[in-house]
């Protein structure tokens, strides 16, 4: 276990209903000097919009409890007007211990606690009951509202998920992370349907905008370890952030991926550009000021209501990255995350439904 956990979390509250769960037992052992068992929600829980300092607190205070809603959901990319890649999300917690300036959680986290759900067996039961999807090429990600792996040495959920997905060969499990914490599952026997993916940016963007995340080199080395153990890999170059030297820095990123990996190792890569809800702007500015490249961005409201770079700027950035990969090898498969069919047509000449290597991802699920 990473020895920094105790420095990272000042408070660990465990709902009395879940104390017998393996996750709670493990937390009690690791945080033996500070955990508290409570009945009901934490007394100082905030509901509603958080202040900047409360949001910062929510990254240092953990609450273990059970989740009573539906675990399995369609990815938010299903929004009308966006090209969708059949991605489903499984949320085993809420809030992230890392602190990216552009993080969309800032616009809707409404609790001053990082919540970890302990009833993973119920989540898996819910997946098992989706019989109509068992023979469909469903992709399931666990990194929508919490990083898939940054707390995994504490929860060990990766091990349980990898084991579960062995029974569903048509499905793909995707861990999405900005951490380098992979050692806890490398010995697991997997069904070849697990993708470990990294959201990645050039080192200067990681240093300036992705606070408390693993460095570029740490992420690359973690990916190499996973590859050695037969896991499939993916990289999400997302969100691309414009800055005067963006071409040099994204060229470095692409070249490093190409140097360390081959298209055979990475079934698919994705690119996306900075985007956020207008209401997120205030808290981002309060927390990171105007030195942040994200806050400095010249953005405009797109068709989906989100603020984005000008269309031509986005297209130039996508063309550059796609071109650089294709120069290395035409076999790289790349798609654009949360982009309109219009951007697809202008970049690839057609929608993703007609892009041969990506067809399967974008076929509507029956």
């Amino acid at each position: 276990v990473n020895p920094d956990w105790k420095e990272k979390f000042s408070k660990v509250l465990i709902d009395e209903k879940v104390t017998s769960s393996p996750t709670a037992q493990r937390f009690m052992e690791i945080f033996s000097d500070r955990f508290e068992v409570i009945s009901g929600p934490p007394q100082d829980i905030e509901k509603g919009e958080l202040s900047a300092s409360q949001f910062a607190d929510s990254k240092k205070q953990i609450h273990l409890t059970e989740f009573k809603g539906q675990f399995f959901k369609k990815c938010p990319g299903f929004h009308k007007g966006m090209a969708c890649c059949n991605y489903f999300v499984l949320n085993l917690g809420f809030q992230c211990d890392m602190d990216c300036s552009y993080c969309y959680l800032q616009s809707f986290i409404n609790s001053n606690y990082l919540t970890v759900y302990t009833n993973i067996e119920e989540a898996l039961g819910e997946l098992a009951s989706m019989k109509h999807l068992h023979d469909q090429p469903v992709r399931v990600g666990t990194g929508e509202v919490i990083d898939s792996l940054s707390l995994d040495p504490l929860t060990l959920y990766s091990r349980r998920l990898i084991d579960f997905f062995k029974n569903y060969p048509q499905w793909t499990l995707e861990f999405k992370t900005k951490s380098h914490l992979v050692d806890q599952f490398l010995d697991c026997d997997h069904g070849g349907n697990v993708i470990v993916s990294w959201s990645i940016n050039p080192p200067n963007i990681i240093a300036q905008e992705e606070h408390r995340t693993a460095s570029f080199d740490q992420r690359m080395k973690a990916a190499e370890k996973c590859l050695d153990k037969g896991f499939r890999l993916s990289f999400h170059i997302d969100p691309m952030i414009w800055h005067p030297e963006w071409k040099d820095n994204y060229a470095f990123l692409v070249d490093e991926i190409c140097r360390r990996f081959s298209p055979r190792d990475i079934p698919v890569l994705s690119v996306g550009a900075l985007r956020f809800q207008p209401e997120q702007k205030n808290i981002m500015r309060e927390r990171f000021g105007m030195k942040s490249l994200v806050n400095q961005a010249e953005t405009f409201q797109g068709a989906d209501g989100k603020l984005r770079y000008d269309y031509d700027t986005r297209k130039e950035m996508f063309d550059f990255v796609l071109g650089r990969f294709k120069e290395n090898s035409p076999l790289w498969k790349i798609f654009m995350c949360m982009e309109t069919p219009e951007t697809w047509v202008d970049t690839f000449g057609h929608t993703p439904f007609h892009e041969e290597p990506l067809k399967d991802f974008f076929q509507p699920i029956r």
């Binding site: 905030e46 300092s53 205030n282 000021g289 105007m290």
Partner: protein
């Protein structure tokens, strides 16, 4: 009750050392009290009276005024808030101006360089300062040299897209038809 009125009511209760909880006052008005709202009320209390009055008249609400939260401890914006009040801008324009001003102050622009100076195009001027790259693109005049005098291409922004618009001057539908025919056969347009 408007946010500014609620904030003033809280202030008065505080001065009277009343035991009234501000949270209760806000709840009675159907609003949820929070630390963030408390911070905003505090920030709003420190703004010039003229601005508060403008914000009350324009029914500026929590989301509209939240940009002020980024300026904790800074008073440099006061003359600019007075300009907003003095120019009597609409609520929609006022929201945009406030947001741009906060960005520009945090980007180390001098207060004096941001003053309205009675310019009715203040919003436009601030946008140009805040979005210099996009402004340069928009300002770049499309070439009209191969076009007849009755046609002109101009840039215009639609959301996240900078598009071009072809404007045609015509007298009646037959004239329009003729000009469109002539234009469509012109190589420079294809």
């Amino acid at each position: 009750m408007e946010l500014v009125q609620l904030m003033r009511a809280c202030e008065s209760l505080n001065q009277l050392k009343s035991k009234w909880d501000p949270a209760l006052l806000f709840q009675l008005q159907g609003r949820q009290w929070s630390e963030r709202l408390s911070d905003l009320c505090h920030q709003l209390q420190n703004t010039p009276q003229t601005f508060q009055e403008w914000a009350r008249l324009k029914q500026m609400d929590v989301k509209d005024l939240q940009p002020l939260l980024s300026l904790k401890g800074r008073v440099r914006i006061d003359p600019l808030l007075e300009d907003i009040a003095q120019l009597k801008v609409s609520r929609t324009e006022g929201k945009q101006i406030l947001d741009l001003l906060v960005d520009l102050i945090l980007m180390e622009n001098q207060t004096e360089s941001l003053r309205a100076q009675d310019n009715p195009n203040w919003l436009k001027v601030l946008k140009q300062k805040r979005y210099p790259m996009s402004h340069a693109q928009e300002k770049h005049t499309p070439s009209n040299k191969n076009l007849p005098r009755y046609a002109q291409i101009v840039n215009f922004r639609q959301g996240d897209r900078l598009l071009k618009k072809l404007q045609i001057t015509y007298s009646d539908s037959q004239d329009l038809k003729d000009k469109l025919n002539r234009l469509s056969s012109q190589e420079s347009l294809t």
